[in-house]
Symmetry: C2
Subunit: 212 residues, 2 copies
């Protein structure tokens, strides 16, 4: 398991609803569960009431709005997506260890956008991770150590080709290297129960992906 | 419809099998249908025999290998993924207008990797596009005009922050601009039945995404 051991709030975005049991368990046990607008219906389908619903609330029926009236947070900002609104909502309430689910898996442009937003959220929070049925994304802005298992597939995504990094305990060692395309640092492998990524250009940040 | 009007070969990768009728129709009518290894089983499930099966063939049972023996192309290269092997296979046979389906939707690192590979394929082919149930990716290395419809959502992905571009007929005009993060050029909108992207830094290339 690579997700942050504890988190203050779990945000469910309106992408593909997670089927993996571990994630559904987290939805049921999260200290605070924040649904992005349309994601609410998936929670109700599994018998779980969100603590908060954040967004422009366009995708909620009037019946649902009445039923959830004590937990709606309306933010009509058209310049920001619902995931960012939910993150801002949590940060404003002091919940600064965040876990995000349901943010990938449908429209690919939403998937790519949401993954890259992790690096925007990083300075606002104490920790943030994104989980899906397939893996866990962790944004980093400094040298970081990750729990892993031998053979775990690891992919790294630098948003800037200026980003330079080194690795320890990865099968294909990275030594002060940059990557010009997204595929270039994919499908690496952990060789121990931890691995580390050293960032030589912390300003740019990096997104680390671990399969479950 | 934004896919290239004609193509020589359709490659089915082993990501999420497309459910959209238009794509399944293309699988049935493609002049040549090339399956990446494990994608074969999905084709057989819909009663379609691939013309070629390319990859390391690890995911085919012996029974299936016997049944398909006249159309297997074994490429055991561990440094290249099955999608790239299929593209190389097509290019070697002179099929240089390519359409790719099933390359997104499961593991996110495969999705990101495959999308970025489009820019690697571009110099090898006459045209290449990637389609999913949600949208169509087109890589470009020069100023390009796209068919669209008013209100069609358009997202642009530059792999390099050095890439500079301008747009015509997009709701949020881009004028000699670069983008440092993937989300920054997402969720634009076509304002007419065509739009164009002018690339001021053709070396870097750009990936254009249009929702269906």
């Amino acid at each position: 398991m690579n997700i942050t051991a504890t988190f203050d709030a779990l945000i469910l975005a309106d992408g593909l609803f997670p089927q993996r049991k571990q994630i559904q368990d987290l939805l049921h046990t999260a200290p605070v569960l924040v649904a992005c607008d349309g994601a609410t219906r998936h929670l109700l389908d599994i018998g779980k009431m969100p603590d908060w619903v954040v967004g422009d609330l366009d995708s909620l029926s009037d019946t649902l709005k009445t039923r959830l009236h004590d937990r709606l947070f309306h933010n009509p900002d058209q310049e920001t997506n619902d995931l960012t609104k939910a993150v801002q909502f949590c940060v404003a309430r002091g919940w600064r260890k965040l876990l995000i689910a349901g943010a990938t898996g449908l429209r690919e442009d939403h998937t790519l956008g949401n993954i890259s937003l992790l690096l925007e959220y990083l300075p606002l929070v104490q920790s943030v991770q994104m989980i899906s049925d397939f893996g866990v994304f962790t944004p980093i802005a400094q040298t970081s150590v990750f729990g892993s298992y031998v053979g775990q597939q690891i992919s790294l995504f630098a948003l800037s080709s200026q980003t330079r990094l080194s690795s320890q305990n990865l099968k294909y060692a990275i030594q002060n290297q940059g990557f010009r395309s997204w595929w270039q640092a994919t499908l690496n492998e952990a060789t121990a129960d931890t691995f580390s990524i050293e960032l030589h250009t912390p300003d740019a940040g990096l997104i680390v992906y671990q399969v479950w």
